[in-house]
Every structure is written in structure tokens, then in C-alpha cells.
Amino acid sequence: MADIGANGDRENFKVVGGQGNPPGVVSYAMATGLAKYGVDYVLPNMLHAKFLHSPYANAKVAGINDAKARALSGVVDILTWEDEDIRDLVPRCFDFLSDRPWLDNIADRSGAEVAAIVVAEDEETCEEALRLLEIEWEMLPHVTDLREGNKLGAPVVRPGEDAKPTFWNYLSAEGQPPKRGNTYTVVDIRGDVCEAFGEAENLIEYDLRLPPFATRSPNPLASVAWWEKHPYTGEEPNLYIEGSVRWRDALSLTYKMPMEKIYMEGLFMGGKYCDWSLRRCQEVTPLLAKRYGRPVRCADRREHMYDFLMNERFIQMKVAFTKDGLITAIDDYSLCDKGGRGSAPFGHVGDLSQGPYKTTKCKSVRQKMEVVDSNRGVMWLSGQHCPFNWDTITTGIYIIAEQLGKDPIDIARLNLHGPTSPDDTNPVPSFDKCVEAGKKLMDWNWHPSGAKQLEDGRMHGACFRYQMTPRHSMKERHSKLEYRDGVVHMPSRGPIIGTYAVEANAMVVAEELGIPYEDVSIDFDAVAAHCIYGGGSDGTVGPAWAMKECVQILKELLKEAAIDYAENPGKPNSSFHNVGQHFPTPGPFRGCGPEELEVADGRVFLKSEPSKGILISEVTHKNIVATHSAWPPPGVWVTGNMGEILDLMNTEYCEVAVDAETGEVEILRFGIAADVGKILRRTSLESQIDQAVFFSQGCQQFEDMFYDPKTGVLLNTNMADYKVPGMLDVPIVEKSILETRAGNGVYGANGMSHCITNTNMLIIAIHNAAGVWVEPPATPDKVLKALGKA
């Protein structure tokens, strides 16, 4: 807790991190269907809008004849990319999206919104009108196979475009070589790699494929917007919009409207994990509603929602190591999907300085990326392999262990630098604690590849992986607490992406005041300053740190108010004006100074005589407002030292059984031994771990994106053909959660986020069982093929 000061000093917890889960404020709404997502909103007199979505991988709309569509009863209008208002729109959520026009006549992936928007009285009419549009398509060459797209002479899919990949302040375009065909090349070198390889005692080379997998928005993305005059002044209309949760600021820029004139009721966002951007259907409705003077709804269909949560990558690794297993040089070449226009650099160059290598003692590292323009799809924000591609090192450690006949845990321990800096040679205490807990959890007994058969004849395999539990917190936080009618209110604009972050903040308030969690009133309000930007971990530990500071301010104000009320007790001055107002009995604080008082255990009392005091709810009849704005201790994103400080770590274990007859792989269990610093909301944390395992399992066992090689069209865009794990598929996930309190967040917590999500543990465990490498997803046919049986 070196850098979080008094914010980490609590020893005893009654609310935070307990075994029992305080019922979530929003859980009830979610469980009972009360919770409304954008797609649920229906307004009287509402119009519907639908985009034209491209059936081709790369195509240009040369012209549209909309006469038949316009003649269809119920069609209100058809807008095209040439519409002046449409041309004025600029994507505002993230800067990397702005290299794609808001709407134009080129669709660079199948399913992309392109060229036209139909507005009609109902959804069916929109669909029918879209079918009636006579569109003159001009086919363009496409790339959906990265290896083909990278070849010299491959058709160039975005001629004339050469915006080099950048990644905020970590990577600039300067100095990057010019684009070649579809490919950008980025190289990042640390140390003298040539010399290190020249002195290599041992060398391994291996290939990996990072499987692409699709975003996880369960709710079809949609918005409904309408305009109303200000209810009091009658002035300029205000924008009301549902379904564009969190993005009042982006909408404000897009529509040149002050933030305070944009309202939304619903804060339920759905499961957009690290996929925060607005889709076109979430941005267009204000424009249409204004033009037609009626509420307008626009919803995407499921088949248009197969964007990347992680994009594809082919990796070739070369690793030098000593006879003990110490890694001395790393050469990491990867061929990465740049995706369609507007794709985020997460998933390719974003990994360059964020990956696992900086956690090791190895000082000679070369990373080269060839990033290929493609027509495969868009990655809207980030990947789920946070923080970034860790599977290269996990695989390397496993192969070294196999070669040396050692346990991969020992190889990992040998290679980790110390906790404080890359030059620190001490062991990492958090790693050792996690390993101790993990070995116990899993009855860890490492065996070499192919050495263990289960009683039923299947082959047993295992895999180990370490990660850092990264420091989160990436922005200034604004907190506010209101004491009103004896109740502490915490206004928050969420968004509600799960049952955890906002609640965890309220739990900190309850903990600090010593009141029951249920007594903190969370007031959800889209215009409140408190925001859990960043979702899970970032939204929990950073704002919770700031909220704890805000509680200290409230405590001081409560002391002053208690003294003031004791000296000037409120009383009803007329039976009419004070109807319903409670005037508490004053506390024994006349003549006291605030320094003589304490606030704890739900009471304000005299330090010298703790029995003399009053309940917090009885302090005063007046309102009190505490506010706090500050940067919590920054996370590694801000400090830029990802991997250099190893305060909190986590470890992961996977055991599989491989049936050599059928090729079936059963995950016997996953084990997670993780140091999160301090558990805030236990069930939420456990649930997030389950979720990360669900993502990991999905992309290694079931999920893949299939493109028609001839047309480049993505083929499996529905939930029957794109299988995610279901109830009967998911493995047992054993958990051992440690609390060393060495993080930068509230009480020494760090964000767990999705850092245990992996794309290769199952693949390694299969190798450990059967001695063969299978490309993910490891479907039975691929396993049999690898075993030479198919």
C-alpha cells in the first residue's frame, strides 16, 4: 500500500469483501425483467429506421434506385450517404474510429452499414424496403485470409490509405516504414537481440494462432431518440435518447448539443465487455427524430453484431534460454489483423509495450508486427486478453519446461524479475503466494507430455499460466455524497454493465460510515458526475478509491453539522412548511470542536466518551453535500510501466482429458489462484473469473469465424452457427483468492479485469496430454487429425 496512503488503512471490514453478498441494487431489476435496455424501449408514434448492410466483403455502392422502396406503403424516407446531415456526422467515441466515415458508399466487410437508411412505420416495412432497393454494387477485391493478404502482389484492399497504426502515447507513426501492399510493419526492439541469440545455449521455435472471437453483446444494440422542448423554459429542444448508455459526451459532440440538454433514463448497458463504442444504430436516431418530428428507433439484428472482441493473429516465436531455463532472448513475429476501417489498435500494435515480456528478466526482446488491412471485421475497442497477449510466454515456458524436464511453475519463477523493477532480482511474493495456493487447490503434480493416463483410458494434461493483476485507474474521478433526511445518497450515472462496480463503490461508503450497505441509497441518474468509466476493474478500484476520500469529507461535514445542530437545533416553524420533516434530538455536542468527535459504526460520538453519541441518521435535519475530485493513484496505463512493477499476480491452472479415440477434449477443471489485493464485492469477482474462463474456453473449444474464401463473407453470423459455451459445456472453476493489499486501488485492491482470459491454455494442456499441437478451437476433428487419425 505504498502509494495509496490512508486510503488503504482499514483493517476490519464488515461490508466490503465479506462472504455474504449484499443484494445488488440493480440485481432485482435485472432478475425480474424490469431492467430496460435500448432495444426494449417503445414509444407512441415511433418510427423505425434500418441501415442497409453489405452482403459483400468489400464493395462500393455505385448507385441506388429507391423508387420501388419509396412506393411501399409505410415507408417514410430513404436517406443515403450523400445526405448533407449524414455527411456532417463524425464518429466521436474513440479517435481511432474516425478514420472510417460515419457512413459512405464503401462497405469494407460483410454486414457493414453502407450507403442507405430506410425510415418506415414499422420494422417489417423497413426490411421490405431494403429488399426493394435496387443497388448497383461494384465489387472490390477483399482480404479475409491474412497470410494471403500479406503476400507481395496480393490485391490491395484500401489503396491510397496509409494511416500508420498508432497507440496513444505508446507508439507514434513517426519512423514507421511505409506501407507495403496491405501491410504495415512495426518493430519494437529492446537490447541487443542479435548478440543474445548468438550466445544462446538453447533455442526453441514455435508457432501460435490467436483465435479471433466475437463480441459479447447479448442485447441487440439499439437506440430510441426523441426531442422535446425544455419543460420549463420552452426553449430549444432537449434530446432524449435510450440505448446509447454512457455516451452523452460523444452525442454532445456529434450533435453539437450541450451535455446538460441530453437525457437518458436507462443505464443498463448489456454485456459490452471492453467494447464500449457506439454503433451507428446508437447514433443515428437523434438526427432522424429531429427531421421527422417523431421518436425513432433503430436496432441492429444479431447477424450484424459479429464484430471482434479479439482479432486473429499468427505468431512465430524464437526463444533462447539457458540450461536452467532462464530466457535470454525473445524474437516475436506476428501477422496481425488490422481489421476494417475504424478498428482499434488493441489486438495488434497495442500489445507491443503491454505484453508479458517486461515481467521477465530477459532484456533482449524483438517484436515485429506485420499488420494487414483486411475485410474480416471491426474491433471496436479492446481485446479480452487483458493485459494483452500473454499466451506467447505461457507457451514458451511450457516448451522450455518440457525440454528440461521441469515444472513450468519453476521456469516461470526463475524468469520473473523482482517486484519493484526490472532490475530487482528478488522473488515476487505475490507470485509465490499464488503458486502455493494454486498447487494446493489443484493437487498440482506436474508430469511431462503423454505421461499420464486416467483410469478411463483418456490422456491427462495440464497447463500453468501466470499473469499480473494489473494496476487500474486511468482518469480523474468525481464523487459526490449527499446527506438528506438522514440518508446517505450516492448519485451515479453508472453505466450498469454488471452488478459490481457501482455497488462496490456504495459498499465502500457503507464500510467507512459503519452503516448497513442497504442504507446507502444509490441514486442512478444519467447526469450525475460519478461514473464507472472503464467498466469492471477500472470502474471499481479507481472510483472506489476516490469515493473513499469523499466519505472522509462527508465525515468531517457530519461532525460539524452535528455540533451546529446541537447548538442550534432545528424546530418546526409552522406545521404547514415542515410537514414530513424529521427534527432529530440533538446530540451531546454543544461547545465541542470537530476534532473531539468521531464518525464510525453508524454513529457520531465523542472520542473521549464513545457511549455519548447519536446515529448518523440523526445528525441534523439539514442537507449536507460532500464532493471530491481527484486522480486516484494511476494505473499502469497511465504510468506506462506495464509489467515492471509486480505487486499483485495471479496464476491459472487447467486440467484436461483427451480421448484419443474420439478426439474429444474435456476440461476437467480450471483453477484460479489470484491475488487481487482486496476483494471488494466477492460474488462479482467470482463471477468475473467465471466469465474470463468462459471466454477462454469458448475461443479454444468452440468459437471461430468462418469466411467464404471466394466471397470473403462471414458465414456464421447467428447463435446457432456461432457456438459459445452453454450450461452443459462449462467446466468447474476452482478459486483461491488472496488479499495481500499491495495494489493501488481502494484498500490496496487492483483490478482483476479479464487478465485471466487466455487463448492457449487448453491447447497447451492438450499437448501435455497427447503430445500434439492443435490449432484453436480444438474441435474433435482437429484433435484426431493432429493425432494422425483423421
Partner: protein
Amino acid sequence: MPETIELNINGIAKQLDAAPNRTLHDALQYQMGLTGAKHMCDRGACGSCTVIMDGRPVLSCSILVCECEGKAIETIEGIAADPKWKPLVDAYCKWDAMQCGYCTPGFLTTAKALIDRSPNPSEQDCREALAGNICMCGTYPRHATAILEAARNMNSEGGGLNG
């Protein structure tokens, strides 16, 4: 084809517009304002739109309104309003059997139908009953815990299930 049909929704007799292409899900959303049954896959693959029809869980996205003449439909809103099922809702909330919450009403409705027909389900019963429900947030391990606790509480409250 009649223009309207009569059916019972959450214990109340209703008339619904029976346009031949209108799904029960859309009728619930657009005509009844009931948005608890959620649309996720639009093709009978996810269970989010589950409602109970004459005691059996069905997928409202794949049933046309015109097939519902005379049927008794229970939606999550009806289940939530019935105090008998409070232990199930409470257990879901207590165990956090949800993340974003979008699929949760579909799971809970399916769970209700399970407890209706099997008041003392085993863990495996729960898993099998919910095998057709997809959660894109991966909350699966928590549902059986919630359902088993709800069933226990309902049984011990006396008459909750069998009475």
C-alpha cells in the same frame, strides 16, 4: 385467420392483435409493454425470450401470436409479482447469477418452470433444464446454486411449492 385472439397473460384475460407474422415476443413488447422476455438470437437458439405457456417453457421469438389462442402465458413480470416466487428472485440476486442481466429473466423463467415440475431438483436437473439458455456473460456456474437454494427455501417455508 381471426384478427385478434384471446389469451391469458399473467392471470389476466387479454386480446392481442394476431397479424399472421407477429411473434408472441413482439406482441408482448409492442402491445403489452412487457419487455422482460428479451430478444437475443431471434431464432430459438438462446432462451432469453422464454415465457411459460400452459406450464411449459417456450421461446416467444419462435411462436406466433396466432398460435396462442386460449393459452395461459406467464412472463417474468408475472412471476416476479407473485410472492410465491420471491425466494427464487431473492436467490438469484443473492448469488449474483447475473452480470449484465440481459439473459437473466429467461434463465429465471426456465428455472421457475423447472421448480414447478420438480420441486426438489438436483444440481444436474438445474443444469439440464437451463441447457437451452445462453448467457453471453458466462454466469452459468451460479444458476444451480441459486435455484437449489430457492427450492430449499420454498420447501421449508411450507406450502410454497406443494401447497
